[in-house]
């Protein structure tokens, strides 16, 4: 997936395999993985002659944003799917918390 994100143009299976230099993967393995990514909606593919060309369906940041929105419980529905360490606080509560930190003698590192 990183290969697709880094590329500016759609890649064939062979090109993806060539860019995965750190791992020695069989052509069919790469093909299977790309096919699976396409089925799950993470990659788009288009016909180019006899080969498929793959590109990422959305950029990396979009997925990171989706993860974080879900994690920070800001998707609107407070679901029980994940357990956040600290939920987002109101401004008033933030002031109370900052005072608590100061009273602990901790210098604010922000």
């Amino acid at each position: 997936m990183d290969v697709l994100w880094e590329s500016t143009e759609p890649l064939t299976v062979r090109q993806v395999g060539e860019r995965l230099t750190d791992r020695d993967l069989a052509h069919t393995t790469v093909m299977t993985v790309l096919d699976r990514l396409a089925k799950k909606g993470f990659a788009r593919r288009e016909r180019d002659g006899r080969a498929w060309r793959y590109c990422a369906a959305a950029d990396r940041e979009a997925y990171v944003t989706e993860l974080m929105l879900h994690a920070l419980d800001q998707t609107g529905d407070r679901s029980a799917a994940l357990a956040s360490f600290a939920r987002s606080v109101s401004d008033a509560e933030a002031r109370v918390l900052r005072r608590a930190l100061e009273s602990l003698g901790e210098i604010d590192r922000d």
Partner: protein
């Protein structure tokens, strides 16, 4: 049979003011585990008693409790409704209506729980797929995944293939000791499967989003579960590290005020502050006698409706 129905109805109605009382009580912060147990008992007791009272109204006297009476009652009432004389027929139809209502309520409660579980499993699966694509390990947080995002977030994805996730923003924000406290907190969630504790309450909240008592009960149990995980983390880490970690992550999330729909998703005021206060100035846990009393009350709450439903008398 009438006595049993009256008791069941009294339990079903009585659990509601009991829940309201538990919401405003202060002792749950001192012993969150006992309070969670009581919440679970209240919820289960309400469900059993409500279904049981309806079924009891349609049941016929029988040696096998309300559940057995309801089954024989259904067969008898159906026969009487078809074959009986006019007054007997009306009575039989009324009994059938109560039995149908009981069956519908039971089916609805089961459906709500199943639908919520399915939604949670789907959301987690999507989340895990994304994590596999995006997250990486980091020596600063052994055993956890790191997502490259400047926002401060730390959370766990419960389940058989569980994961603890920390954002790069959190790594910058917290020192090593605070990170260890966060990991201890999240590990407690995963180890004790706190998500399963929360699931029935979130399911009911999804089904009845406008019911204030249900929403508050869900919020209360969610906060108690966090406090329980805080307490577990204290077994391994000093309270001060956990408190400063909480403050830093909480304050950083305040940032620019979120607008519209996002603001609605904010926690009710003071959840994080309440946890910090509890860590820095801990109240003593409840004495053993009080804990015994709470556990007995919880057992009784479930045993009475369950007994009336199932036991012969």
């Amino acid at each position: 049979m009438l006595a049993a129905v009256l008791v069941l109805a009294a339990v079903a109605v009585g659990t509601i003011p009991a829940a309201a009382a538990l919401l405003s009580a202060r002792w749950p912060y001192r012993s969150p585990a006992a309070a969670i147990l009581l919440w679970q008992a209240l919820g289960l007791s309400w469900g059993l008693a409500a279904v049981g009272a309806l079924a009891g109204l349609g049941a016929r006297q029988a040696g096998w409790g309300v559940a057995g009476g309801a089954l024989t009652g259904a067969a008898g009432a159906a026969r009487a409704a078809v074959l009986g004389s006019c007054p007997a027929m009306l009575a039989a139809i009324a009994r059938l209506i109560f039995l149908a209502a009981a069956a519908a309520l039971l089916a609805l409660l089961c459906w709500v729980l199943l639908a919520a579980s399915a939604a949670v499993l789907l959301a987690r699966r999507r989340h895990r797929v994304l994590l596999r694509l995006l997250a990486h390990g980091d020596p600063k947080v052994p055993g956890a995944l790191v997502v490259d995002s400047p926002a401060a977030a730390a959370y766990c994805v419960p389940g058989l293939r569980s994961a603890i996730v920390v954002s790069a923003g959190t790594l910058d924000l917290l020192d090593a000791a605070e990170l260890a406290a966060v990991l201890a907190h999240e590990r407690a969630h995963l180890r004790e499967r706190h998500d399963l504790v929360l699931l029935p309450f979130s399911a009911l909240n999804r089904a009845l989003p406008r019911c204030r008592l249900v929403r508050q009960a869900y919020g209360s149990v969610a906060l108690l579960v966090e406090m329980l995980a805080d307490d577990r983390a204290l077994r391994h880490r000093p309270a001060r590290e956990l408190a400063t970690a909480l403050i830093r992550v909480g304050v950083s999330s305040a940032g620019p005020a979120p607008s519209g729909a996002l603001a609605a998703a904010q926690a009710p005021d003071g959840e994080t502050a309440a946890r910090v206060a509890r860590l820095l100035a801990p109240a003593p846990p409840l004495p053993a006698a009080a804990l015994t009393l709470i556990c007995s009350a919880a057992a009784l709450l479930v045993a009475v409706p369950a007994g009336l439903l199932l036991l012969p008398w």
